[in-house]
Amino acid sequence: MALNYGMNLILGCCGCCSAFRPRYKRLVDSIFPVYPQDGLVKSNMEKLTFYSLSSPEKLDRIGEYLYQRAAREIYRKKYGFVIIAMEAMDQLLLACHAPTLNLFVESFLKMVQKLLESTEPDLQILATQSFVKFANIEEDTPSYHRRYDFFVSKFSAMCHSGDTKDVRDKIRTAGIKGLQAVVRKTVSDDLVENIWEPVHMDKIVPSLLFNMQDSSFHKEPPHGDTIPEDSVDPPMLAETCMRELVGRASFGHIRAVLKPVLRHFDLHKSWVPNEFAIHTFRIIMFSIQAQYSYTVVETLMDHLDENAKSSPTIRTSIAEVLSKIIAIAAGESVGPSVLEIINSLLNHLRDSVKNGTIQAEERQYQEALINALGEFANHLPDYQKIEIMMFIMSKIPFPLVDNQTPADNMLQSILLKSLLKVGTKYQTIHFNTTFPVSFLEPLLRMSLAPDPEMRLLVQKIFHTLLDRHGNLEKLHKPTLNIVDSDLNVEKSSRPDLIFINKHGPTIYDALYTSLQMDSNTPDNIEAIYTTLGLLCVELASTETVIDLLQLLLGIQNLALNSTTLSYAQKFNLHALVISLLVLISDVMNIQSLSDYSSRLIEARREEASYCLPEMLTQYPAHCESISKMPHLLVDQMAVCEYLKASGIDPSRLAQTSPYGAGGPGAIAGSQRHSWMEAGARGSIMEIPSVHEVDSAASSPGVTRKLPEEGLSFESMKKVLSEPPEIRKESEAEKRKQISHTFRTATFSELVRLTQPKHDLLQNKLNEIFKSLTTAESSSTTDDPKKLSKCEESFPELFYY
């Protein structure tokens, strides 16, 4: 045996007699024991190390000779000697000092490669360990010509080892560690090797993912990143490596990492189910340098684009992944990127609607997108939420008419759903910040859409934005026992009262008009109850109460006189009226009014229980109108009495109602006109410049910033300082026009129009809304005393 070895050695050394061979060769030979199991001859190894340190110029030859020996032993399958050779290499590498290191590294890496090329798992693992040691050494002068292509290729192949389970895990672990080492070695210096090149990333990333996906990924590592380095759990290790890789990626490199990630999920069909994708993307989001997290969102959205033709199930899954990570990005997104993300999500929604709207899968996809939108908005500051709501609003296609295509309808309702989603994430503090005119106006306009579903959505948006005190659940359905639900009522603030003074009429009018729609279901009517209830609770004041009672009586008239509403709808309205009366008397704590409503309820229970909640779509045939039974109706005079008795001035309520009886039989035009002239609310167009300011502020996308506020306030002041005569004169013409519009077509009438004159309708609606805005503006300023008082106290509120 020993003899044999000696013979081989002599043969292997070109026949030279060992005595005449160079010193370095003899030193190298001396580190090998006779029997490999005896291991490295330590004392001789020390001599070799000492020699190479004192004669560093010999290092390259020592390295080359060691390599030759190892290669020979591999060929002979004497792996014990190979291991010893590698160990010697490792020791020399660590002992070498910086300037001479380069001489040695070449043969060191050649040796590592030689071992990696062997089919022997143990040698591959050994080689990897040596490579890791090498990667941990800091080199002063990196070797620019050194390339790691082979190592990346081989380590990646090892990551996919298909050996038997035991060997497999060891090889895979080695592969991952090898990749980690290459990355660490190269990442800091692009000149050495640009590890971010696709040729490398396209190998590294799928190799890591392939191992990660084998893990029981739902189990988070017990203590974050504290996985021991020598762990033999390939999935964990791959995950750690992935975190490190992503964490080191600078902006220019992110896509090089993300692209193969997305491809991997496509090819491995890992979008459905998407647990692993979510897991991976969360890892990416948490590891990536925060300022780049937006790029991940963007890339994922681009990927949705690329999957436009994929099944909706896949798109849904991708969108779900998006919704799971988008919140993480929200914190870092600033300025235009926010609207870009929103815009992109909305575009995807639009495309989806184009795809076809009926399939359940496509709907799920839309839901997922809307969820993503909501998640994103949820993590933005409130002021941006308003911006987003206005932005979404600006994307909703007008006009809203009966005969639009189902796709139009779908898009509108989907955008409204998105709006609702964002709305639920928003916490209202002051109504005037939540409802700038540019938001309120289109929202009210949409509350009159021909499609009852859409109207319902708009009411829901109002609900979520109005409800500041958690009363929504309690006001969800009309009830006669509101006392039991223990409403949370807080005294309303002045800014709120100013808001409702200014916008109340517009809002009430829209609600009233919406009740005139003959396509209303009980859901629609109940939703309006909720809106009115919330307004009442949130803005409880004598002013508001009078307004609400006025509206309430108007609604009762509508129920009595309308020729278009069905019996069921009329009964629903009566139920709405009585429920509101109960609510108002409770919120305002007017006992006599409470008692009055109780008596009415009692009477109705006896004679017309169908005029009480709950609201139905159909009633038995014997149910008949209660117009002939005045004792069942809310009596205007009686209400005035009770108000007066509790110290509230009811004079405004006693005047002619601003609400027409509704229905073509009593064209609201004339009535509405008389309301305008009755002066109860002042006439329209009192303050023209306010109108201008408002329309400027209502252009979508315009954010209210300080200079604008100044401007608005300025113009307001100017208006106030001008004598009314001049104002009236200068605006006489305009007023005439508007009045004309009011005479020729009423709000509700316009809405009911079904002729395909979209433009005309649209224009008129716009005109009327503009004028209404002005009308309610004027109502705030109608009373000069009140105005000046408010202006003194809250000048900043007057820019609206």
Partner: protein, 200 residues
């Protein structure tokens, strides 16, 4: 034993089950592995051969045919000097997929890569693709063509030797730059040699 003069990278592609791994094992280890399982990702083998009097080292990257590994396997095309596209002569679908494979090669491999079409499993008696059909396809797409049997060891040696010879001929024809043993030539297309690296 390790002083090779040329290093070539050879990549095998083709549908799952056509016998890529068997071809490689037959060539590198001289055996036909019983119950060879599907390749996962990429496998690596090395074999040094002698052409004329020169030693040529072949780095053989055996890719998985399964579609889910396409992302990792494609990343190996780029540095290949030769691509062996394999189909199974007893399985029509593996032949029908060839145009798809060519498209991938077109997209991911160097334009100068040596392409060889191989119809494997000629030992089988349920042939579906006549030799002539394979030959014509290869001709049409400017590829070498060979039929093999990994099982019976038919043409396997010849296949790889032919590739080694051809690549060496190409390498000699062009102006070969001095070889740096550690410069593992990332992109064959980016070098003047076009397709090989040479040891000094």
């Amino acid at each position: 034993m390790d002083d090779y003069k040329f290093l070539f990278k050879v990549v095998l592609v083709g549908n799952a089950g056509v016998g890529k791994t068997c071809l490689v094992r037959r060539f590198t280890q001289g055996l036909f592995p019983p119950g060879q399982g599907a390749t996962i990702g990429v496998d690596f083998m090395i074999k040094t051969v002698e052409v004329g009097n020169e030693k040529v080292k072949l780095q053989i990257w055996d890719t998985a045919g399964q579609e889910r590994f396409r992302s990792i396997t494609q990343s190996y095309y780029r540095s290949a000097h030769a691509l062996i596209l394999v189909y199974d002569i007893s399985c029509q679908p593996t032949f029908d997929c060839l145009p798809d494979w060519l498209r991938e090669i077109e997209e991911y491999a160097s334009s100068k890569v040596l392409r060889v079409l191989v119809g494997n499993k000629i030992d089988r008696d349920d042939r579906e693709i006549p030799t002539q059909v394979g030959e014509e396809f290869a001709e049409r797409h400017n590829m070498y063509f060979l039929e093999t049997s990994a099982k019976e060891s038919d043409n396997v040696e010849r296949l790889f030797m032919q590739i080694a010879e051809d690549l060496m001929k190409q390498a000699r024809m062009t102006n070969v730059p001095r070889y740096d043993p550690n410069n593992y030539n990332v992109d064959p297309a980016s070098q003047d040699s076009g397709c090989c690296s040479r040891l000094n």
